[in-house]
Symmetry: C2
Subunit: 167 residues, 2 copies
DNA sequence: TTAAACTTTCAAAAATAAATGAAAGTTTAT
DNA sequence: ATAAACTTTCATTTATTTTTGAAAGTTTAA
């Protein structure tokens, strides 16, 4: 396999993986492209490489920056903006997990707490509902806390987790 | 909040969460409904509660069974089939993580291995590509292995993880 | 065997999500 | 101040995903 083919395969695969995980294809592809670039890339070049429109590139770059995993860069004597991705994988994973926790897990926990707190102990059906949602609340809360603790280590958290866990 | 309202809120929330994680809304809603039912539910009742068509119910129940998190049940003297969800949360999480590993992570690893193995050491660009994809391969492999190890514990793996990690 | 009771399949329709591109907005150099 | 160089926005279009529902398939009881 030659370089160009490998590069393309990587970008496509990362894009497909993105959509399986609730991130849109282009967003994941842009991120993939930036990950493997040794220098900052202009919007023009991104549009060109991925064959996407200016609007699409702009909106997805904004989203990536909102996630904190892509940065703007300015070059002296250049009017254009350039973009780079967070390349440290520990840092990348930490940022993604924090953001998803904030956007998805926390709101879900709020609902779980609400619905598990209803005054409902008449029928078996109601008792079961309260019991299940309470368990779910506890489980998700615990999982969210563990994730938080793990990513607090930042540097090499994965390696540290391996070490801790293999003991 | 009364029971019916809480139940509905739970099903809707779980459905929305599902779509953010690459699982379709109806599939997640059916799962939610079964999770909080204290007894097995017929397809008719699922269609009725969620206001969905027969085909939709059938296909998503099949998908849930393929994931191994919903089971068919037969009642004596009843022609119809009934369905229940895996209600043990440890077990549920283990099954989901195993299935996603098999379906998504393993194939991604295969591609990462391929593209990181290209003979390409001429330009800086190529060297950087190989270096980044290699790092990514190592990272994802390690994460996949940790997940595997953690879920091997099955019963109470989350609690065990908390204990191990807080030490 | 046949017919009733049920489930599955899949082509077509509907709903949802993403992409386009032109106009509006912003920044910088002169 | 102005115009060139660039980015963002958003109504519309396009692509993708999901849902429908009717026909085909299956199972069971008589």
């Amino acid at each position: 396999m030659e370089f160009k083919e490998a590069k393309n395969k990587f970008v496509q695969t990362w894009g497909a993986l993105g959509s399986q995980w609730g991130i849109n294809k282009t967003m994941a592809q842009i991120h993939a492209l930036l990950m493997i670039s040794n220098e900052a890339v202009s919007m023009e070049d991104i549009m060109d490489e991925l064959q996407i429109s200016r609007g699409n590139a702009s909106m997805n770059l904004r989203a990536l920056m909102d996630w904190g995993i892509v940065y703007k860069e300015y070059k002296v004597g250049e009017r254009r903006e350039f973009f780079t991705a967070e390349k440290d994988l520990d840092e990348l994973a930490v940022k993604i997990s924090r953001e998803r926790s904030k956007r998805e897990i926390k709101p879900a926990l709020k609902v779980l707490k609400e619905v598990s707190s209803i005054e409902a102990n008449t029928t078996e059906e109601e008792k079961h509902f309260v019991s299940q949602t309470t368990k779910l609340y506890d489980f998700v809360l615990k999982a969210d806390n563990v994730l938080d603790k793990i990513t607090e280590y930042k540097d090499n958290w994965l390696t540290k987790l391996v070490v801790k866990f293999m003991k």
